[in-house]
Amino acid sequence: MIAEREEDRTHHFRGKWFGFGPVQDDEFLVFAVFETTMRSGRRLSARSFDRKKLINAELSIARQALVTKTKFDVAVARRGEAMKGKFVGLATANAGTIRGIFSEDWPKAAPRKIFGFGILDLVEPGDFDGHGTLGFLVEATVPKTRELGALREFLMFDLADKFSDIRPIEECEWGSPASIGIARFATVWRALKQV
């Protein structure tokens, strides 16, 4: 679960001077699809996402502009094949669009506006710097009621719809070493301004 304002700070295990900082709304996220990933033809379905990983905010994604094709191929596609079967392709979605998935006038007992998902720049030892995670926000998971449980199912349907069709790795616009270098510089600059 992602708490309020948790998306505003960095989650790189080495601290704010490393990685690329919080995920911005204009970024694109990449979801890797393997042979064992459930899907409907060329589209993701709600079944493509591990519910438990979403609840724990552990669903891995890559930040498209902040990773090179080679890096993604080695660190995600090839590494993932060991456990999840052959790499099939990837689906992309805009971070702002995913954050914008919401519900209104729900639950019936206490109607309110509920946003479903948050995205963290979570990088743990062994991850590449353009790694991130996707998960439910606290407001979509607490309290643990049947009504909110039902809402989570709808949120997952919406999440699947927000991703593009599954396509080959070559058709994605990856970051270049130069653009990634600039992004790193910007991250350090932001951290400096906060001091």
Partner: protein, 217 residues
């Protein structure tokens, strides 16, 4: 083994009263005879908690229409429970008139049952999952709903069915507490935005049924 079938009793009435307070495990354990109807999944063998209001799934109050048969011939009579218990009603009433079912609808029904078989449900949500499956089967039968793109059950026993096309879709979620949530998605409208909640005994909203017509697979 012979607890219910051969126990001597003084009268049929006392036997029936005893049957009314038996528990499910006993029923299942002591009845080894096959009726030829095949094995019935256990979640179909329970009365919906939403229908009865009974939260404890270990005890069942057998209603009058359950088939308790006895014979006064022989040694004081015996009775047998046949598979009528597997026809426990859902939270929704079935229509009186028989209807012609489509193969697509039967397929969806089968997928729902199969999904329940394959999904590992948290122990504390089993009753909800079973009630959700019963409610779903009842709704599918009543409305002859056609096969869907996705059928899934969460670990906490919430069953959802989704029909989808390129830019639009419709979904139903069964929470297992006698409620159904329905929602439709289209460009600019999310599934989660404003779901409609109805009782499992209610008919599905007309506009929802109309929307489903475009998703026939």
């Amino acid at each position: 083994m012979d607890v219910f079938q051969r126990r001597n009793v003084t009268g049929a009435q006392s036997l029936f009263e005893r049957a009314c307070h038996m528990t499910i495990p006993q029923l299942m354990d002591v009845y080894p005879r096959s009726t030829g109807e095949g094995v019935v999944p256990y979640w179909l063998c329970e009365i919906s908690r939403a229908a009865t209001g009974v939260l404890d799934r270990s005890e069942i109050k057998v209603p009058d229409h359950f088939a308790v048969k006895w014979s006064l011939r022989g040694t004081g009579g015996s009775f047998e429970l046949y598979e009528a218990i597997s026809r426990a009603q859902s939270t929704a009433e079935l229509p009186d008139a028989a209807q012609i079912r489509t193969i697509n609808s039967l397929k969806l029904e089968k997928r729902v049952s199969l999904e329940r078989h394959l999904t590992k449900i948290d122990a504390d949500s089993l009753t909800y999952a079973d009630a959700a499956v019963r409610d779903a089967l009842s709704v599918i039968r009543r409305h002859n709903l056609s096969d869907a793109e996705n059928v899934m059950i969460s670990e906490d026993g919430i069953l959802s069915i989704q029909w989808r096309k390129t830019t639009s879709g419709a979904a139903m979620v069964f929470t297992g507490d006698g409620k159904i949530l329905v929602s439709m998605a289209a460009p600019g409208k999310l599934y989660s935005q404003k779901p409609t909640q109805i009782s499992a005994t209610d008919s599905l909203p007309r506009e929802f049924l109309k929307a489903l017509e475009q998703f026939h697979v």
